[in-house]
């Protein structure tokens, strides 16, 4: 009877969808040797992280790719594209969760045949992609995500990270505030209630306990991500009488915290450290109260060294988008230039011929290269994880513009563990400078 027809129809429809997918697969473009180098770039193009991180990173990639292909970049990156071969970028939206990202990555590599993938801001996405990169054997470079778990819990062949881990943001922050306020007794924190916020706070708390034994942790606020309103949190911070308030807030949450905290005198009463505060300066300008300690997750933007490379990148970016590049843009540029350096080193070793992926990887391991943010060493994770110095400073309003003063720089060795040591253990053991 008719329910059988239904079943038959259902089987057909399912089979049909399978065939449809197979067809799509068959018609996927094949890549030829002389084609440009196809790079999949994955950052947030939508959602809350797009504005502060995703889009600057995307723009950074775009402007770097354009100038590289035009051969308008200074040495050591003067060669067109990668070693003479132009590069072509396919952007993918990182929004939508790990389930989506894993399939998007498969599509990039297996359906669209990207030669390499650069991207990922969310640590969750990085963790999910890492094993897949190994499985699919495709060169993959993380440029921003902060969790140290990636190379501390496993080692990879096809995976690199050109951005330093989040550990150094908080060790450096701890060092900075203890030098700035030797007398500090009470410390509080307000961080978003997810891995990033929790890890940042744990690292900072541990570091403070090492630097200032007996320091009083008065409160640790953990509002949920994108909560947007922090009235009650601000009240508790105000009543806590903390000398220093640590926050790894980013994007809209960071801006909201400033907009709601400043009028109520939070930033006067305590010294607030914002480890990822740099992009909010770009957005809020002088709304950021004077005396706020600001970090850029590395030596970027106002902390970047005064080099040709930096001048070139800033100018190219500002000409193209008429705003200053914030740190995600810097980190993206750093990733692309890192791969370029590795590629050209491998090409040289390969008698000028297009190097194989294996050769690029071999060249990339333990590589040191220059970027707009200064020198980067692929020193950790068996030469796959970058270390880099960092810097912090305090905001000051000068002529209606906000600038950062009292900048202190911290060498990589002071704020990141030596290879093979886990960050949290290293901090707890007193993060002695590795020598």
């Amino acid at each position: 009877m008719n329910s059988n027809r239904a079943r038959a129809a259902s089987i057909l429809s399912i089979t049909a969808s399978v065939l449809a997918i197979a067809l799509a697969a068959a018609t996927a473009p094949a890549v030829a040797q002389d084609k440009p180098i196809k790079i999949g770039v994955v950052t947030f193009l939508s959602g809350a992280a797009a504005g502060p991180f995703g889009v600057p990173a995307r723009n950074g990639a775009e402007v770097v790719a354009e100038t590289l292909n035009a051969g308008k970049s200074p040495s050591p990156y003067a060669a067109v594209g990668f070693g003479g071969t132009p590069i072509e970028i396919a952007f993918v939206d990182e929004a939508g969760g790990t389930t989506k990202q894993v399939n998007e990555y498969r599509n990039l590599v297996q359906r669209d045949n990207a030669d390499m993938v650069i991207g990922y801001i969310s640590s969750g996405d990085c963790l999910a992609i890492a094993p897949l990169a190994e499985e699919l054997k495709r060169l993959t470079v993380f440029f921003d995500c902060g969790t140290p778990r990636i190379f501390e819990d496993a080692s990879y062949k096809y995976l690199f990270r050109t951005g330093a881990t989040a550990t150094m943001d908080n060790t450096a922050a701890a060092l900075y505030v203890t030098e700035m306020k030797p007398a500090l007794k009470k410390v509080a924190g307000i961080n978003q209630n997810y891995a990033w916020g929790q890890d940042s706070w744990n690292d900072f708390e541990a570091a403070m306990k090492v630097l200032k034994p007996g320091v009083d942790i008065v409160t640790s606020q953990m509002p949920k991500l994108l909560a947007g309103q922090y009235g009650a949190e601000i009240s508790t911070l105000l009543t806590s009488g903390a000398d220093v308030v640590h926050s790894s807030f980013w994007g809209g949450d960071a801006e909201a915290l400033i907009l709601q905290g400043a009028p109520r005198g939070l930033f006067k009463k305590s010294t607030v450290v914002m480890t990822a505060g740099e992009p909010t300066l770009v957005r809020l300008g002088t709304q950021v109260p004077e005396g706020t300690v600001i970090g850029a997750r590395g030596p970027f933007d106002m902390f970047a060294p005064d080099t040709e490379l930096n001048k070139w990148f800033r100018k190219a970016y500002e000409d193209r988008y008429s705003v200053a590049p914030s740190y995600p843009a810097y980190k993206m540029a750093q990733a692309i230039l890192g791969v370029k350096a590795a590629y050209e080193k491998a090409q040289a070793a390969n008698a000028g011929k297009r190097p194989s992926q294996e050769q690029i990887i071999a060249a990339f391991e333990n590589l040191s290269f220059e970027a707009p943010g200064g020198k980067v060493d692929m020193a950790l994770g068996k030469g796959h994880q970058a270390v880099q110095g960092s810097a912090y400073g305090v905001t000051k309003n000068v002529g209606g513009k906000v600038i950062v003063v009292n900048i202190k720089r911290f060498a990589a060795s002071r704020i990141t563990p030596p290879d093979g040591v886990k960050s949290d253990e290293w901090i707890k053991s007193g993060f002695k400078t590795a020598k």
Binding site: L45, S46, G47, A48, A50, G51, P52, G54, V55, N193, T219, S220, Q221, M222, P223, K224, L226, A227, G228, Q229, G231, A232, E233, S235, T236, L238, T239, G251, G252, E255, A256, L259, Q260, A262, P263, R264, G265, R283, L284, Q287
Partner: protein
């Protein structure tokens, strides 16, 4: 002591915010039996429009206090534009469909609006911070609070009072209640249900946008800011009892106080305190605190 006081004040401020975003939802559900998933996007829309207007206002260097009026104007604009478009252009074709289907319809509207906002305003954050600091502070004990937040509370109360008055004292309001009670009968009585629906949805949209507009000066207006709001408003709504105005008020107060108490005393549970409250209330009162009685079935 000051601790307890600040728990109360913080709680009340948050409650009034919750009430403003939940009350529109309540009105729409009460009259149209639609749980409007797009509410969050309309809230976001209100925030974006407000931010844009306020920004322009200050760039033009006009009297700063005027910016406060702009917030209301933003809500009005979003209400009269988006409301009718969604109701006339889409919802009215769906009346009589299953409640769940209607939820999904508004869910799709939510998805579409999210991208519309992105296309119009991009993904950059906007802020209309000026009004927030404008009115200065007042101290409770040694804790400073902003006058703007006090204003928020006042607005919430006004909205509640105004709606109650309209519903119980005016003719239109009574018609509305008639429709709430029984659509067919009131249609038979010659009430123009179509028009009642249009007006209701427009006002509901306006209230959603008002919530966004009032909050815009406190936060940075970013994509996806509406997503959180949906569940918040739903929770308040369900706790209070669907479609009940006093319910929405009580729900907002409960959630607000619980949250601020959690923040002050055990920050650990803040993350899901609201859902715990919702679960507990539903366990004790399966249809929320103010639930309508059902007529005898046989």
């Amino acid at each position: 002591m000051t601790d307890l006081v600040s728990v109360l004040i913080d709680g009340v401020i948050y409650s009034s915010y919750l009430f403003i975003i939940a009350v529109g939802l309540t009105l729409i559900y009460g009259v149209m039996k639609i749980l409007n998933m797009a509410h969050g996007s309309l809230y976001a829309l209100g925030a974006y429009v407000a931010a844009t207007l306020v920004g322009a206002w200050f760039n033009a260097g006009l009297n700063p206090y005027g910016s406060l009026a702009l917030l209301g104007l933003a809500a009005l604009l979003v209400g009269v534009v988006a409301g009718p478009i969604i109701e006339r252009g889409l919802l009215r074709f769906m009346y009589g469909r299953d409640e769940v289907v209607l939820i999904l319809v508004t869910y799709s509207v939510f998805l579409i609006l999210e991208d519309v906002i992105k296309l119009v305003w991009g993904v950059e954050s906007y802020s209309a911070y000026q009004p927030y600091g404008l009115l200065g502070n007042f101290d409770v004990g040694d804790l400073p609070y902003t006058v703007y937040d006090a204003l928020l509370v006042i607005v919430a109360v006004l909205v509640g009072v105004a709606l109650t008055f309209v519903l119980t004292r005016t003719r239109q309001g009574k018609l509305l209640l008639a429709v709430i009670h029984d659509r067919e009968v009131s249609a038979a009585m010659g009430i123009n249900v179509e028009r009642v629906y249009l007006v209701t949805f427009t006002i509901g949209t306006m209230l959603a946008a008002l919530g966004g507009a009032l909050i815009a000066p406190k936060v940075s207006v970013v994509p996806a800011m509406g997503v959180e709001v949906i569940v918040l408003a739903f929770a308040v709504e369900v706790i209070g009892g669907l479609g009940s105005l006093p319910g929405a008020a009580l729900g907002a107060i409960i959630v607000g106080l619980v949250r601020s108490a959690a923040v002050h005393y055990l920050p650990e549970v803040e993350l899901f305190s609201i859902y715990l409250v919702m679960a507990l209330v539903l366990i004790v009162r399966p249809k929320g605190l103010f639930s309508a009685v059902e007529a005898r079935k046989i």
